[in-house]
Subunit: 359 residues, 2 copies
DNA sequence: ATCTAGCAGTCAAAATATAGGAGTGCTAAC
DNA sequence: GTTAGCACTCCTATATTTTGACTGCTAGAT
C-alpha cells in the first residue's frame, strides 16, 4: 500500500471524498470532471479512478456505478487534507454559553463538554477521564450525617468529590468527627491520589478508633482512580440514528456499543503517545462500530493529561469541524479549570496549535 | 361508544388482542375459531368481528385482511381482562439483587428503580419525582470548601441532598461556618420544603452577614421543589428500537420524545386521583408517542406520594407483567425507605393490593 | 506518450405485469 | 341465530421489462 500518489491522483481522491461527504452517493468521473477539473476530460479521470481503485483507495459498489472512498481513503484524506476548521461565531457563542456558569466538579465540566461537542458537531461524543492518580488531594472533610453515617468530601486541585456517603459502626458524634477531620487531613492532605494508594499500606497506626473510617476513605480513593464505567461519559447517542443509509439493525447495534461504557473507554484510550488527534475507522480491530470513524483528542488541565474526548460519527463526517470543536474545547476547559476551579495563576497548557488548512 | 358487550363479544375481543399481542399479524376469524372456540363456526365469529369493528374496537388494515385491535380495544382489554401477573422467581431475585445495597439518596433509589423496571419488562421506564414539598427538612449542614464557597447538605426524612455548592462574597472562615450552621438550622430544621418556601418570605432578620447564605439556601429549596427536568429519570430508551414493525423514522421521533424530560414528566403526571394504575395509549392528546402505551403507578414513601413510575411500550405490550413489576417495586421501595433511608419503625404504605387474574 | 471522443457493455433501480392466496361479506339453507 | 359455500377484494411475492447512469476499451488526436 506504499504507493506514492501523483498530485493529480491526490486531487482526484480528495475530490471523491469531498463529494461523497457532501452527499453520500457514489461519485462518477463526469461529476468530478465538471466540478474539479477543466483541463482534463472525464475519460482521463476514469483512468485515474481505475488506478486509485487498484491501489485500494476506492471501491465500486457495482460495475456500472461511481466510486466510493474506502476506509484507507478516509484515512489518507484526514491525514493529508484536513486541518482544524475554525468555528463559526455562532458556534463559539454556543460553546461559551454552555461554559458560562460555575463548575465545582470535574464531572460537571466533563458532562458539559460532552454535551457541547455533541450539540455542535451533531455527532455522538464520548469523554473518558483517566489518570486520576495525578490529582492532588488538598483537603478532606468528614461531615457527620445520621448517627452512623458520614459524608466524605474530597477537595482536589481539579475539583471536588462529594459523592461518598459511608456508614460506620462507630457512632459519629461531633467530637469524633472533629478528631477524624484533623487526623485524616494530617494523613492525606497534600498527596496525589496515586501516592495515597501506596501510602495507605504504610499507615499502621493503632488508632483503632479511626481505622474503620480510614479504610473507607482509602477505599473511596481507590475507587476513583480505577478505570471504570463511571469515568466514561456519552452524549448524543441518538444522533447515530441520523446517519443516512443506516438500517434499524445497524442503529441498534451501534447504540448497544454505546451502552458498554467500558468498551467505549478502551476505544478512546489511544496507546500512541504525543499525537494531538487520533483517528480510527471502520471495523478494524480497534473500532467496534461498523462504518464509523472515531476522532479523539487528549485533554489536559493544569498541564496534566486528564482524559480524552472523542467524537463518533459516520466515516463521512465533517472532520475539519470536529477537529475544530475538539481543539477549541480543549482551550475552554483549560481556562475554566484555571479560573474557576482552582485559584492558581498557572498557565494552563493547551494542546498543540496548528494552522487551519482550508482551500 | 357506550355499547354493552355481550359475553361472547368480550371473549372474541380478548382473543383478538391476545393473539395480536403474541404475534403482531392481523387476526383472522378462522384463527380465533380454531384456538378459542369449538362451539361456533368461523362464520359466526366473522359476524361478531364485524360488529366489533362497527363499534370501533377493531380495525381492518384492508378489505381482505384480518382484524387488528384499535386503541379502544387495548384500553378495554387492560381494564377488563388484565391484572397483575405474579413475577417469576428469577425476576424477583433480579429485583432484590438490585436493591441489595445501601441507599442514601432518593435519587439513588429512583435511578435504580428505573433500571430495574426497564431490565425486567424490556421496555422503556420513566420515573418522575414530585411533591418534594412534603419532604421534611431534618437538618442542614454548611461545609466550607474554598475560601469563598461552601457545600450545602440538606438532610431530609427521605434522603440527603448534597449537590449544592454555593459561592459567597463573604469569606467562609470556620467561625462563620459554625455560626451559620446554628442559625440556618434554627430557621429551617423541622419544616417541610413547602412550608419553608412560604416561610422564607417572613424571615427578615437583619443578620445581614448571613443574608446572602440564607438566600442561597432558600434558592436551593425552591429549585428542588420545582417540577423540572432534573426530576425525570428515563432508563432503557433504546428498548424502543426493538418494537417490531417500527421504522427508523418512528424510532427517531420516539427517542426524541424521551429526550424531552419535561414533556415526559407531564405525560406521567396523571390528574385523576386515586387510581392505582393509569393507562394511556396511542396518539391522543395525552400521549406524545404514536402507537405506544404508557402505564404508570403512583409511588409512596412513608405514606407520602413521592412520584410516579411508568413504562412506555408498544400498545401490544405485556400489560400483566408490567403491572406486576410496578406493583412489586412499589413494595420494595417502601421497605427500602423504611429500613435503610430512615430510622423510623413506621409502617410503610403500599399501594392498593389487587388479585391476579390469570386464566 | 498522453489524452480523449465515442461507443458497447454492464448492472442497479424503477416500473410494470402476473399469479397466488388469505380472508372477508353475503346469501341461502338449516 | 348459525353456518356452509362461494364470489370478490386486494395484498404480497415473483417475474419481466425498461431505463439510464457509469464504466472500460479502443482508436484516433495531440
Amino acid at each position: 500500500m506504499e504507493h506514492k500518489l501523483s498530485d493529480r491522483k491526490k486531487k482526484v481522491l480528495r475530490a471523491v471524498v469531498d463529494e461523497y461527504i457532501s452527499s453520500p452517493i457514489p461519485v462518477s468521473s463526469s461529476e468530478i470532471q465538471e466540478k474539479y477539473f477543466n483541463d482534463i476530460s472525464s475519460a482521463t479521470i476514469r483512468v485515474e479512478l481505475s488506478a486509485l481503485e487498484e491501489m485500494g483507495y476506492l471501491v465500486q459498489p457495482h460495475t456500472s456505478a461511481g466510486r466510493v472512498p474506502s476506509s484507507i481513503a478516509y484515512k489518507f484524506y484526514v491525514e493529508n487534507f484536513i486541518g482544524k476548521k475554525p468555528l463559526k461565531k455562532k458556534e463559539i457563542k454556543t460553546i461559551d454559553n454552555f461554559f458560562d456558569k460555575k463548575f465545582t466538579e470535574i464531572e460537571d465540566i466533563v458532562k458539559t463538554s460532552a454535551k457541547v461537542i455533541s450539540e455542535i458537531t451533531n455527532y455522538t461524543s464520548v469523554i473518558v477521564i483517566n489518570n486520576i492518580n495525578n490529582v492532588l488531594v488538598k483537603e478532606i472533610k468528614i461531615v457527620g450525617l445520621e448517627p452512623n453515617s458520614a459524608l466524605v468530601i474530597i477537595i482536589t486541585d481539579s475539583g471536588i468529590i462529594k459523592d461518598n456517603v459511608i456508614s460506620l459502626k462507630k457512632f459519629t458524634n461531633p467530637s469524633f468527627i472533629r478528631d477524624a477531620n484533623v487526623l485524616i487531613n494530617k494523613i492525606f492532605a497534600g498527596y496525589t491520589v496515586g501516592e495515597l494508594k501506596t501510602r495507605s499500606q504504610m499507615i499502621e497506626i493503632e488508632l483503632s478508633d479511626f481505622r474503620e473510617l480510614l479504610d473507607c476513605v482509602i477505599e473511596i480513593l481507590k475507587n476513583y482512580s480505577n478505570k471504570s464505567a463511571k469515568n466514561v461519559y456519552v452524549e448524543g447517542g441518538n444522533k447515530m440514528l441520523n446517519y443516512p443509509g443506516a438500517t434499524l439493525e445497524q442503529a441498534k447495534s451501534a447504540l448497544n456499543v454505546l451502552e458498554d461504557k467500558l468498551l467505549l473507554g478502551n476505544l478512546l484510550d489511544d496507546k500512541t503517545d504525543n499525537i494531538e488527534f487520533s483517528f480510527r475507522i471502520g471495523k478494524d480491530e480497534t473500532c467496534g462500530i461498523d462504518r464509523c470513524a472515531i476522532m479523539t483528542a487528549k485533554y489536559t488541565i493544569n498541564g496534566k493529561e486528564v482524559g480524552q474526548a472523542g467524537v463518533i460519527g459516520p466515516e463521512r463526517m465533517d472532520y475539519g469541524k470536529v477537529m475544530g470543536v475538539l481543539s477549541y474545547l480543549s482551550k475552554s476547559i483549560n481556562s475554566i479549570a484555571a479560573c474557576k476551579l482552582i485559584d492558581k495563576g498557572e498557565e494552563a497548557s493547551v494542546i498543540g496549535e496548528e494552522d487551519d488548512e482550508e482551500k
